[in-house]
C-alpha cells in the first residue's frame, strides 16, 4: 500500500511530457554530441533544472523508434568510465526533423501564448 502511494506522489510531481516533445528533446540533446540513454536522461534532468524526468520506459522505446526512422544512428563505444554503452548520434535527416519539430513547437507556444496572455483591447480589435 505504502509504496504505491509514493509512486503516485512521484507521478503527480512530475511534469508529464507532451506527446511528441520527447522526440524533440532527445534530438536536441544529441545536437550537443553523441550520447547514451543514461546520459540523455541525466542531460535532460540537468538542463531542465531537475524538472524534466524522462521515464526509461518512454526513453528506450523512443530511441529505438527514432533509430528506425533513421533520425539517429547508434554504435557501441566505451564511455569515459570504461563502461561499454550504446551511443546515439543524430543524423542529417534527424537534424531536419529537429528543425521542423522546433518550428512547430514555437508555433504552438506562440499560439498558446496568444490565447493565454490575450489583452482586452486586442481581442476587441
Amino acid at each position: 500500500m505504502s509504496t504505491s502511494m509514493n509512486e503516485k506522489d512521484q507521478y503527480k510531481n512530475r511534469i508529464e511530457l507532451l506527446q511528441g516533445t520527447l522526440d524533440m528533446l532527445i534530438l536536441q540533446t544529441l545536437q550537443w554530441g553523441p550520447q547514451h540513454g543514461y546520459g540523455i536522461v541525466q542531460a535532460l534532468r540537468l538542463r531542465s533544472g531537475d524538472v524534466l524526468q524522462v521515464e526509461t520506459g518512454s526513453l528506450y522505446p523512443a530511441l529505438h523508434r527514432l533509430e528506425r526512422q533513421r533520425w539517429v544512428q547508434s554504435e557501441w563505444k566505451q564511455s569515459e568510465s570504461k563502461q561499454k554503452a550504446r551511443y546515439y548520434r543524430i543524423t542529417a535527416k534527424g537534424k531536419k526533423q529537429l528543425a521542423s519539430d522546433l518550428d512547430r513547437w514555437q508555433q504552438i507556444v506562440e499560439a498558446i501564448g496568444l490565447v493565454m496572455y490575450v489583452k482586452p483591447e486586442e481581442s476587441a480589435s
Binding site: 543514461y38 546520459g39 526509461t56 557501441w76 564511455s79
Partner: protein
C-alpha cells in the same frame, strides 16, 4: 524456446539487454560516486528504472521489422502469458479441442459420404442420379434398358449416361464359394464415372448387351483377396455361379461402384450370358431394373437437363403408353443427396448434426471468452501500463487475440489427432445388413481445412471479444482505480453477463433437440410394427445365385421347409424374399383392373413373395380371404394377398376378394387381405403392399422361422439342416429378425446419440460457465460481503444477494434459449416420431434440468461466501 528463430531478432534482443544493463551500471556508478553504498545504489537504480521486462517488451515493439518478426514477438508474448496460467490454458484448450473435434467428426462423415459419393470418380459434382415418377427414399431401379438407351441417345444435355443393376452372386470355382456383390453395367459405366482401369481394360460399346465372350472386371479388393493380387489375372477365366467368364480388367483401388455407400465387388455387362434378352427388349414390368446416373455437359444446369430428359421421356411415353402408365416425370438429384443408396439418408441427418456441433462450438467459444475476459480483467493493470508506455491499442488487441488464436491452434491440432480416429467411428452405427454397405468418415484435406477454419473461427471469437472489451478501458482510470473496483467496470460486468446468458441460451436448444430425439428413439423402439419380431430367425440361402437350375431350386426350397419345420424348437417355418424394416423394399408398377388412376398418380406398389404360413409366423392377421397354401405353385393360377392400404386405394368400399391386378404383364387374383404392417420405417406413410405366392414368383430365398425360445439358439441347427440337403448351399445373414429390423432405426440412433452427446457437452459448458462467473464475481465482492456481514446482514441475506444475480442471468438465458429452441425444433420435426416438436413435457424437463443445474452452480459460491469469516474477508483487500 525458439518458435521463430531469427538471427537479427536474437542479436537485437541481446543488445537491448546490454544497453539496459549499461544504463543501470552507470546509474549505480553515479550513486556510488555520490557516496551511497553499492547495495543501496543498486536497489535505488533498479527501482528508478522501473519494470525491466516491460521496458524491454515495449521497446521491442518499436523495432517494427518484418510482419513475421512482429508476429513472432506477439506469439512469444502470448505463449508466455498462457504459460503463466496453465490452468486456464489447459482447460480452454481441452474444451476447444472437444468442440472442434465434434465439428470435424461430423464434417468428416459428410466428407466421406455426401462429398465423396462415388469414390474414385472424376468431378462427381457433374453427376446426377435420374429418378422416374414419385420421389421417395431407397426407390427401386426406375428405368428399363430400352428407355435408358433412348434417354442416352436422344438427350442434348449430358456427356454420358450410365446404367447399372446390382445384386448378390456366388463366386464358384475356388476352394470356397464366396458371396459377392455383382453389378450389371452399361458399357460406358466407367467412362462416365471417369475411371481408368488399373489392369487390362473396361467394357467396349459392342459388349453392352451381348459380349462375344462373357467377361468381367474385378474390384481391387476382390482381386487382392480372392485372386492374391495376381498380376497376370487379365485373360484368365473365373467362375461366377458356375459359368466361366473371362477377366478383362481390374478397377483401381478404392473404386466401389456408382451407388453411394454400397460396395460392388465385380462388374459384368448387362446380359453377359445372353440369358436376359427379355429384360433388354421390354419397357415395363420386370424389365424396369436399371439405376441411371448421368454426367451433365459443361455449363448445363440440373433444371435444363431435367427439362431435356422430360421432353425425351414424354416422346417415349407417347410411343409406348401401355408400358408407361402412372407418373413418368424425371427428377435429377446431385449425388450428395441422391435417393439411391445411402446419401438420401445422410443428407437428412448429417447437416443437422453439423448444425448441432456448430452450436457446441459457439457455446465453447462463449465459455472460453468468459474465462479470457476474467483473465484480462485481472491483467488490466499490466495492460494499462503497457498502453501508457506507448504500446498502441491495436498492438494490445493483436496480442490478446493471438492468445485466443494460439489456444485454438493447439486445440485444432489436438482435434486433428482425435478426428483421425473419430472419423472412422461412423461405421459403428451400421450393423451387418443384407446390403454390402461401405460407409465411413474420411480424413482428407477437406477435413483438415475444415478443422483449420473451425479453430481460426474459434480463436477469433475467444480472443477478439474480450480483447476489444479490455482495450477500451481508459489507461489512466485503470491506473487510478483502487483495488476494490478491479472487478471491472459495469461494462465488463455486462459483457460477462451477456456471455453467460449466451451459454445458457445456446445449450437449451441442444438439450431440447436431444431430448426430443431421444424420446423419438424410445417411441420407435416401443412402436408396434404390426408383426412379430421377437421370436423370429431369418437366414438367406443363396439358391438363385449359386447356379442351380429352376427345377433344382424349387426342390431344394421344399426340402428346406420340410427339414426346418421338423426341428425341435421351431414353431413355424416359412419362406420369403424380403425382410421388412431393413432399408430396402421391392417396388413394381401394378395395374388394378377397372381402376382409373388420377393423372400422374404413381402406380407403384411394394411387393413381397411369401410362402404358406408366412403371415402365421409373423402374427399378421388375414382379415379377409385366405393365406397362401402349398397349392399356390407354378402350375396354379397366380394369386395375391393385398394389405388394407392397397385394398382401400384400389377398391374402396368394395370386396377386394376376386379382384384382379396386372403385374409384369400377368393377371393376379386377390385371394386375401392382410392387416397393415410396417414396411420400411415405423414413421412411414403407408404404401400399398401386395404379397405374391413364393412358389409362383419368389426370387431370393430367405428362410423365416418362428421359434419357441430365443432364436439365436437355433442358428446352428438351422444351418445344419440346410447343409444336410446340399453342403454347397451358401447360407448367410442368419440372425434374429429383431437385429435386422434395427436397421430401420439406425439413423434415429445416430441422431439421438450425437445430439445427446452434444447436449451433454453443452450442459457441462453452460453450468461451468455460470458457476465460473458467479464464483468470480462473488470473490470480487468478498470485501463487500464481509462488510455486510460485519454490519449485521444475515447469512440468508448474503445467500440471496449472490443467488439472485446468478438466477437472474439463468432466467434471461432460459427465456432466450426457449425462444431460440422452439424456433429450431421445427427443423428436426421431420425426424421426430410420436412426439411434437414443441412437446411440453420435454420443454419443461429441459428447463427444469438446466435451471436446477444453474441453481447448484450459483449456490456453491454463495455457500462459500457466507461461510467466510467476515473479519478476514474485510482484511483481504
Amino acid at each position: 524456446m525458439k518458435w521463430f528463430p531469427s538471427f537479427g531478432f536474437q542479436r537485437r534482443n541481446r543488445e537491448l539487454k546490454e544497453e539496459i544493463d549499461a544504463h543501470l551500471q552507470m546509474a549505480i556508478a553515479d550513486r556510488v560516486a555520490r557516496g551511497e553504498t553499492e547495495e543501496t545504489a543498486r536497489q535505488a537504480a533498479t527501482r528508478e528504472f522501473g519494470n525491466i521486462a516491460l521496458v524491454q517488451d515495449v521497446t521491442r515493439q518499436m523495432w517494427g521489422g518484418s510482419w513475421f518478426e512482429q508476429l513472432g514477438r506477439d506469439v512469444r508474448y502470448a505463449l508466455r502469458q498462457l504459460r503463466k496460467n496453465p490452468g486456464f490454458a489447459i482447460t480452454a484448450t481441452a474444451m476447444l479441442a472437444v468442440a472442434i473435434c465434434a465439428n470435424s467428426t461430423v464434417f468428416s462423415w459428410i466428407d466421406g459420404t455426401m462429398l465423396r459419393p462415388i469414390p474414385g470418380a472424376r468431378d462427381t459434382g457433374d453427376l446426377v442420379s435420374l429418378q422416374r415418377g414419385e420421389r421417395n427414399f431407397s426407390p427401386t431401379p426406375p428405368f428399363s434398358y430400352l428407355d435408358y438407351r433412348d434417354l442416352r441417345e436422344q438427350n442434348h444435355t449430358f456427356t454420358g449416361i450410365l446404367a447399372y443393376h446390382h445384386d448378390w452372386i456366388t463366386l464358384t470355382g475356388g476352394a470356397q464359394p464366396e458371396r459377392v456383390y455383382i453389378a450389371n453395367v452399361s458399357a460406358n459405366y466407367f467412362d462416365v464415372l471417369g475411371i481408368k482401369p488399373m489392369l487390362g481394360r473396361f467394357f467396349l460399346p459392342e459388349e453392352e448387351t451381348r459380349p462375344a465372350i462373357p467377361n468381367v472386371v474385378l474390384s481391387y479388393s476382390l482381386w487382392k483377396t480372392r485372386y492374391a493380387a495376381d498380376p497376370a489375372i487379365v485373360g484368365k477365366s473365373i467362375e461366377i455361379a458356375r459359368h466361366p467368364v473371362t477377366v478383362i480388367g481390374v478397377a483401381p483401388e478404392g473404386v466401389v461402384g456408382a451407388m453411394p455407400g454400397i460396395r460392388e465387388d465385380l462388374w459384368v455387362t448387362l446380359d453377359p450370358l445372353g440369358t436376359d434378352a427379355w429384360r433388354l427388349t421390354h419397357r415395363s414390368g420386370g424389365a424396369v431394373w436399371l439405376n441411371v446416373i448421368g454426367r451433365l455437359r459443361l455449363g448445363v444446369s440440373r433444371g435444363q437437363a431435367a427439362q431435356d430428359l422430360d421432353t425425351v421421356m414424354r416422346s417415349i411415353v407417347a410411343a409406348y403408353p401401355d408400358q408407361h402408365l402412372g407418373d413418368n416425370r424425371i427428377t435429377l438429384d446431385p449425388m450428395w443427396r441422391s435417393p439411391f443408396g445411402a446419401n438420401g439418408y445422410m443428407a437428412a441427418t448429417l447437416p443437422i448434426l453439423l448444425a448441432f456441433a456448430a452450436v457446441v462450438l459457439l457455446l465453447t467459444c462463449a465459455n472460453v471468452a468468459t474465462l479470457s475476459l476474467v483473465r484480462f480483467v485481472s491483467r488490466r493493470r499490466e495492460l494499462a501500463i503497457r498502453q501508457s508506455l506507448g504500446a498502441n491499442r491495436i498492438q494490445l488487441m493483436r496480442q490478446m487475440v493471438l492468445e485466443g488464436v494460439v489456444l485454438s491452434i493447439v486445440a485444432g491440432a489436438v482435434a486433428l489427432a482425435l478426428t483421425t480416429w473419430t472419423s472412422k467411428t461412423f461405421a459403428w452405427f451400421f450393423r451387418a445388413s443384407s446390403s454390402p454397405t461401405t460407409l465411413n468418415g474420411s480424413m482428407d484435406h477437406n477435413v483438415v481445412i475444415g478443422i483449420a477454419v473451425f479453430s481460426l473461427l474459434a480463436g477469433m471469437l475467444c480472443g477478439a471479444l474480450p480483447a476489444w472489451r479490455s482495450s477500451h478501458a481508459p489507461a489512466v482510470e485503470v491506473l487510478k482505480a483502487e483495488s476494490a473496483s478491479i472487478s471491472g467496470g459495469s461494462r465488463n460486468r455486462k459483457l460477462l453477463s451477456g456471455l453467460v446468458v449466451a451459454q445458457i441460451a445456446l445449450s437449451l436448444p441442444l438439450l431440447l433437440c436431444s431430448g426430443l430425439l431421444l424420446r423419438t428413439l424410445r417411441n420407435l423402439a416401443g412402436a408396434n410394427p404390426g408383426f412379430e419380431q421377437d421370436h423370429i430367425l431369418t437366414a438367406t440361402v443363396g439358391l438363385n445365385i449359386a447356379g442351380y437350375s429352376d427345377g433344382e431350386v424349387q426342390l431344394i426350397r421344399h426340402k428346406i421347409l420340410d427339414r426346418v419345420s421338423a426341428l425341435p424348437g421351431v414353431k413355424v417355418a416359412s419362406l420369403t424374399d424380403w425382410i421388412p424394416m431393413t432399408l430396402g423394399h421391392k417396388g413394381e408398377d401394378a395395374y388394378p383392373e377397372e381402376y382409373v388412376p388420377h393423372p400422374h398418380e404413381s402406380l407403384q406398389v411394394y411387393h413381397a413373395e411369401v410362402a404358406p404360413r408366412y403371415f402365421e409366423s409373423l402374427h399378421i392377421p388375414i382379415l379377409e380371404g385366405r393365406e397362401f397354401t402349398p397349392d399356390d405353385d407354378e402350375k396354379a393360377p397366380r394369386v395375391l394377398i393385398v394389405d388394407q392400404t392397397a385394398a382401400r386405394r384400389y377398391w374402396p368400399g368394395q370386396n377386394p376378394l376376386g379382384k384382379r391386378l396386372r403385374l409384369w404383364g400377368r393377371l393376379f387374383t386377390v385371394v386375401g387381405v392382410a392387416r397393415n404392417s410396417t414396411h420400411m420405417f415405423v414413421n412411414e406413410s403407408p404404401e400399398p403392399m401386395v404379397y405374391m405366392s413364393f412358389f409362383q414368383e419368389g426370387y431370393e430365398t430367405i428362410l423365416q422361422v418362428e421359434t419357441e425360445g430365443n432364436p439365436v439358439y437355433l442358428v446352428p441347427e438351422v444351418e445344419n439342416a440346410i447343409h444336410e440337403i446340399d453342403t454347397r448351399l451358401p447360407v448367410f445373414d442368419v440372425r434374429p429378425m429383431r437385429e435386422s429390423t434395427q436397421l430401420a432405426s439406425s439413423f434415429a440412433v445416430i441422431q439421438s446419440a450425437l445430439a445427446g452427446m452434444f447436449a451433454l457437452i453443452g450442459l457441462v459448458l453452460a453450468v461451468t460457465g455460470i458457476y465460473g462467473v458467479v464464483a468470480y464475481r462473488t470473490q470480487m465482492r468478498t470485501h463487500e460481503i464481509g462488510l455486510r456481514v460485519a454490519l449485521g446482514a444475515s447469512r440468508v441475506d448474503v445467500l440471496r444477494l449472490v443467488l439472485l444475480q446468478g438466477l437472474w442471468l439463468t432466467g434471461i438465458g432460459l427465456a432466450l434459449g426457449l425462444a431460440f429452441g422452439l424456433g429450431l425444433t421445427r427443423f428436426i420435426a421431420r425426424l421426430l416420431y410420436g412426439i411434437g416438436a414443441n412437446d411440453p413435457v420435454t420443454v419443461v424437463s429441459v428447463i427444469m434440468l438446466l435451471g436446477t443445474m444453474s441453481l447448484v452452480a450459483c449456490y456453491l459460491p454463495a455457500h462459500r461466501a457466507i461461510r467466510r469469516n467476515p473479519v478476514t474477508a474485510i482484511r483481504e483487500l
